[in-house]
Symmetry: C2
Subunit: 330 residues, 2 copies
DNA sequence: CTGTTAGCGCCTTCAG
DNA sequence: CTGAAGGCGCTAACAG
């Protein structure tokens, strides 16, 4: 039997033997705060490199209790919004030697809870993207585990959100500046935290007489398609959609009806997805995703290390003006 | 000190104590092939449920050497193609009690290798989505670790690919049936395995005189936009794009030039992405993604368990006819 | 500053 | 069929 495990990987024992020191010395030399002589550390590092040593996470976790990994709960990876969150979280985590377990819950609150229960033991904490689902149940399943909410607030838990109210305000001001008065909003599902926030902001920014409220829709793109006719009938000259997919649905149906965008109708999306610029150059409110995910990772790790108060972060949103909005023609 | 670890989780010791049996009995009862009396197993399972027991993966891994997790290498999670692969892999893995570590390599071959080296020790094997990158280097970094390639063949390794040649053939036949003769192909990067395959199939399916080859392009959407004018100048009446994003770029520029799609130009995409149907109802060759990922997971686990010969799978592709292709007008 | 000694939670011989 | 014992690779007191 050789002194190496399968896959040709060596352990601290190999390094210790190679150098004629004890394994604990090696362990300390390899630990950031370890108290060893500079010379020893140098030799250990040299040997580690030479022997292609790589720490066994399982062993480390077992002994320290820290798994060096975090769980990411997302409703649907196919949605570019969440794909970017996943990308950001994963990259940031890797840069600080953590891995992320992604659980795609397929837009089911059931699976969401199940995934949390399943992974709880194998991660140090959670990043939760769960726009839907009941507050109480969610809090209950998260009890006893560190967690930070992304794009949703949940009392008592740290969160990273974006300034949706400002985003809506920017959109409304943009439309007002273009001369539009009667403005519609196609609302997202009431069960969504973000949809409620956008809608509330819209109610605040547009005065009663000018305000047209449509929706709520369920499926984004098809919901947009299905709402376009009501939009035309409403007399609004501009619309702010719940998100970019809804906006694309609206644009598709409007054009099919022979209504030009932006000349016949100004359309503002929300999220700032790349796909929204692909075939349709959509004016949209950009919502940070990778940055949000990175911040969430940092927040979580800080909470784990220092155990401070749950801090929350609100990231700015930014209106991106493209070709789907134009001055009101009279 | 209580008998439970943090996060309120119990161990097999708790179950053993609760039942007055030994930990090894509990361990066996909880192991599929374990040899215990049916009665004992029943009691153990009851207690496990009652005490909310959940096995500690780190401990299990340390003792068995199996990590119960697999690494997924993808170039970019933002690309809906890979997001779906990730989703499929993750869901299938979870259903067989495995987790997947996703490494987004940000389209860098460097990061690809780095990620493999980094994770090698913490996973049982890899699922590799690496269309780019050198064969030899990739094989070298994968040496000694189980791996299955997705959407790329690499001699000596099992793979899950799709029948790109058939997809191209279907597209060409469709266009021929519509009366088109002069057909163009906008090729993807030569460094991409899939791009080379599509192009070779195109060369085979379209006779020399009728064939127009454009590209290769680098950035998909912008590449499509940039190639549209050459397409028009080529005299082709139909085009098969490297992928859907390229097709969308083409359509965007064509329309800007005042050329109607499909009346002035028939456009076929490749991949069958949802985004392609959003604003543009694009005819496209659907390439399986979630299914491919699921198969890859199965292949990997089977190889790990049985260590058989590296089997490979080729999944079918299917032309989806929508509104971007029409009969040739003469 | 370094070596020795105990585990972390689980699986796996080996006896009984 | 079940219990006792040892070890997976690493970290964390505790002595020296």
């Amino acid at each position: 039997m050789t002194s190496r495990t399968k896959a040709g990987r060596s352990t601290i024992h190999d390094i210790a033997a190679d150098l004629g020191v004890s394994v604990s010395t090696v362990s300390r030399a390899l630990t950031p705060g370890g108290t060893v002589s500079p010379e020893t550390r140098r030799r250990v590092e040299e040997a580690a490199g030479r022997l292609d040593y790589r720490a066994n996470r399982a062993a480390r976790s077992l002994s320290t209790g820290r798994m060096h990994s975090i769980g990411l709960i997302v409703p649907d990876l196919r949605d570019p919004f969440f794909a970017e969150v996943a990308k950001g979280a994963q990259m940031r985590a890797r840069s600080v030697d953590h891995t992320v377990y992604i659980a795609d819950t397929d837009r089911s609150a059931e699976l969401e809870f199940e995934a949390i229960d399943m992974m709880r033991r194998d991660v140090d904490g959670f990043l939760v993207c769960a726009p839907l689902g009941d507050d109480e149940a969610l809090r209950e399943h998260l009890r006893g585990t560190a967690a930070v909410m992304i794009h949703r607030e949940l009392a008592g838990l740290p969160s990273v959100t974006s300034d949706l109210a400002s985003g809506i305000a920017q959109a409304v001001q943009h439309l007002h500046a273009l001369g539009h008065r009667r403005i519609a909003h196609v609302a997202g599902p009431d069960s969504s935290w973000g949809a409620r926030r956008r809608r509330a902001a819209f109610d605040r920014e547009v005065s009663d007489g000018d305000r047209v409220l449509l929706g709520p829709i369920a499926d984004p793109f098809e919901g947009g398609v299905a709402t376009a006719d009501a939009l035309l009938a409403s007399g609004a000259t501009a619309v702010i959609a719940y998100n970019d997919l809804v906006a694309l649905g609206l644009v598709t149906r409007l054009r099919a009806r022979g209504v030009s965008v932006p000349d016949g109708m100004s359309v503002v999306g929300f999220d700032g997805l790349d796909v929204a610029t692909l075939a349709t150059s959509l004016t949209s409110v950009a919502v940070p995703r990778q940055v949000a995910a990175r911040s969430a990772v940092d927040l979580l790790l800080r909470a784990l290390d220092e155990g401070g108060e749950p801090a929350s972060v609100v990231l700015p949103t930014q209106l991106i003006v493209r070709d789907s909005t134009a001055p009101l023609r009279r």
